[in-house]
């Protein structure tokens, strides 16, 4: 009897689960299915577990496609034509895959150079396809950037930058490369601490770009002052960190990632003058994890190795320390975090590069020698769409998306403040206040509150003024007729009357 009851209970439970699951009509990936944690930080910097924005969607090995396996590939690039170019560094070749990465379109390992001789790559480290459909390969050990057609025919070579600002024995070892709409070439080179090297389209070196300032704390300055000259020469030099990854957005702004040991700013958005114009959001932080330990294997700030500009101001950072992918919007708000290190399917060993191919994010793993694919979930796509709508100025259309996000993730501060902002522009101050408070958006809440308060004051002005006048009148009357004094006199009179009576 008991057993039957138990079975019945299970059946009922499953039924209820099925009904609620199907009626919701939305898939929220369960934590158990995903090999990593998906979380975000709330206003107070606490970790909040969120639904997954992206889930693993398989991986691509070169051996499955009929060619020899990748060997420590370091970079890849998604072209406008929908092809994926992989810089297969260890095998000295460029592998071109089709858009769903199921077919090898071609392998570029040799080309005919300007002299008509056969030429090869030596550890091609970075790869980029320009808007004009030219393939740029950072041929690191040969100290040059090779420019080819997508088919592998030679166009030109950029090498040997000449300038007074360069050190005499500076060896040009290009690591990462990107090209803007005007065919200016931006190169991250080894030991080029001054910044990103910029070349004109004719291959002429024009200068450095976006230097990272050295930070010396007052404490370090103090110790350097105490140290003698010999001690000082033995100390390590304070040199700026190098850039690690680079990408360019539609407007020609360069996104460049670097490793920030403080975990505050790991990406820069450089305008054509080379000034950083990134927005750091409410936390004033675009450096990956806000919270991290100070000792142990997982200690330290996120080490951002690559950045990808996606669309509508959204960009993603790839962290090699904990294998996380951080996605920010244009204002520097953290949208979602996913990814992790490990041996399971869908986790990384040595993530080196990240690209966006429409509905998917792909990550190149030099440890696994494969490309990992991540598919956007309903949750992820809703956030992407809502942020895109806001970027375009469609705040009202964004409300619907944000409400959907709230159904999946009730405490999403971004969604709440997104809805609040939209209500604010519509003029519904009371609702705007409610959502902006939930979204912890102090600045916009203040605007909504001020409008609400002033409206309230204006609409009830007659009552307020009447009340004030009445109160003033009462005080005046009270003083004039001296009520208190009269009461006292009366009491005294009574008292004296009583005394007389008793006497």
């Amino acid at each position: 009897m008991k057993k039957i009851k138990f079975k019945f209970k299970i059946a009922a439970f499953i039924l209820v689960a099925l009904i609620t699951g199907s009626s919701a009509g939305q898939m929220v990936a369960k934590a158990a299915e995903i090999p990593y944690e998906t979380y975000n930080y709330n206003y107070w910097g606490d970790i909040v577990i969120t639904p997954a924005a992206y889930v693993p969607n398989g991986s691509v090995q070169a051996s499955d496609l009929g060619i020899t396996d990748f060997k420590e590939p370091q970079d890849f690039c998604y072209s406008d034509d929908g092809e994926v170019y992989v810089a297969d560094t260890g095998n000295n070749r460029i592998v071109v895959l089709n858009s769903d990465m199921s077919v090898v379109n071609r392998v570029i390992d040799t080309f005919t150079n300007a002299d008509g001789a056969q030429d090869t790559f030596s550890a091609p480290y970075g790869v980029c396809v320009s808007e004009n459909n030219e393939l740029y390969v950072a041929d690191s050990n040969n100290g040059r950037v090779v420019v080819l057609t997508p088919q592998g025919e030679f166009i030109k070579i950029i090498e040997n930058p000449q300038s007074e600002i360069l050190d005499d024995n500076f060896a040009f070892v290009p690591l990462k490369v990107t090209v803007d709409y005007a065919d200016r070439v931006y190169v991250i080179a080894k030991n080029a601490f001054e910044g990103i090297l910029v070349f004109e389209s004719n291959g002429e070196f024009t200068g450095f770009f976006g230097t990272i300032d050295v930070k010396i704390t007052a404490w370090e300055k103090f110790w350097r002052r105490l140290a003698s000259k010999e001690e000082r020469s033995n100390q390590q030099l304070y040199i700026p960190t190098e850039f690690t990854g680079i990408d360019v957005d539609d407007g020609g702004f360069i996104y460049a990632s670097n490793i920030d040991s403080d975990g505050i700013q790991a990406v820069r958005r450089l305008n054509p003058q080379g000034n950083d114009v990134i927005q750091k959001g409410e936390n004033s932080n675009v450096g990956g994890d806000l919270e991290f330990g100070t000792y142990g294997d997982y200690a330290g700030a996120s080490e951002i190795t690559d950045v990808v500009y996606r669309d509508k101001g959204i960009y993603s950072l790839l962290d090699r320390k904990r294998g996380r992918i951080f996605t920010y919007d244009k204002e520097g708000n953290l949208l979602y975090i996913f990814g992790g290190l490990g041996l399971q399917e869908g986790t990384f060993q040595t993530p080196v590069a990240i690209e966006d191919i429409g509905e998917e994010i792909i990550v190149l793993d030099a440890g696994r020698d494969s490309i990992l694919r991540f598919k956007e979930t309903n949750y992820g796509s809703l956030i992407n769409e809502a942020v895109s709508l806001r970027y375009d100025g469609d705040e009202t259309d964004a409300i619907a998306k944000w409400h959907e996000v709230l159904r999946l993730d009730e405490n999403n501060e971004l969604a709440n403040s997104g809805i609040g902002k939209a209500y604010l522009t519509q003029g519904d101050n009371e609702l705007a206040m409610k959502y902006l408070k939930l979204g912890k958006n102090r600045k916009y809440y203040s605007i909504a509150f001020k409008r609400y308060r002033n409206d309230l004051l204006a609409s009830h002005m007659n009552y307020i003024m009447t009340g004030i006048i009445l109160i003033i009148l009462l005080i005046v009357l009270y003083k004039k007729f001296n009520v208190r004094e009269k009461i006292r006199q009366k009491l005294q009179q009574k008292e004296s009357v009583r005394r007389e009576a008793s006497n």
Binding site: W44, S446, F449
Partner: protein, 214 residues
């Protein structure tokens, strides 16, 4: 208990606390020499200060309040404030005793307790006012708090000065020394607890050894 209730409902004692705020020189003098203050009232004021402080942290308006209300524990704050009050009184007393101060422990605690009145009022007014300000008017809120707290600090200084019959310079020196004494007291207490712990664990290990061997 009787004295407590008597003092608590004594209108004159309460009125005198406010008189001290508006006339600090005379007020503190009479606390020392005419027994017009009350330690009970002073302790109540300290508790009131702690409560107002916690209320401000929990329910000041969202626009000016950056504190996670879940992180506020008003009971812990009350204990901390009372402990600090007690420690400051004791350390000030122990310093001024050596520096020929005239004040008794009673006078010091009354002076410090009464000095908190402006801060209490500022926190209450600020909390109410914060419900009606927007971000650009937030400066007024911070101004209210700053005025209240700085008046309290000035009153404390005057209080200690008058109660002990010190000059201003000597008062400032004693205040600095008070903090030194405060740290010494805390250090000794911690040392004491640590030693007690060691002794307890010593006897416990003897006991365990005996039990395991028997």
């Amino acid at each position: 208990m009787k004295a407590f209730i008597h003092n608590l409902f004594d209108k004159d004692k309460w009125q005198y606390a406010f008189y001290t705020v508006s006339h600090p020189m005379d007020g503190f003098y009479e606390i020392r020499h005419r027994e017009r203050g009350s330690v009970y009232v002073s302790v109540i004021l300290v508790i009131l200060f702690s409560v107002c402080f916690s209320i401000n942290r929990i329910s000041a308006g969202f626009i000016v309040n950056d504190i996670d209300p879940r992180s506020v524990n008003s009971f812990k704050e009350l204990i901390a404030v009372l402990l600090l009050f007690f420690l400051v009184c004791v350390s000030n007393w122990s310093i001024t005793c050596l520096m020929e101060g005239e004040g008794r422990l009673k006078d010091i605690s009354i002076a410090i307790g009464y000095s908190l009145i402006p801060a209490i009022i500022a926190y209450i007014i600020g909390t109410i006012f914060s419900q009606f300000v927007s971000l650009d008017e937030g400066a007024f809120y911070y101004m209210i708090l700053a005025v209240g707290v700085s008046y309290t600090l000035i009153l404390m200084l005057i209080g200690i000065m008058t109660v002990h019959n010190f000059t201003l310079g000597k008062t400032i020196i004693t205040v600095l020394l008070t903090f030194v004494a405060l740290f010494i007291i805390i250090f000794v207490i911690l040392l004491f607890f640590d030693l007690i712990n060691q002794v307890i664990s010593f006897f416990r290990s003897i006991y365990q050894e005996l039990i395991f061997r028997a």
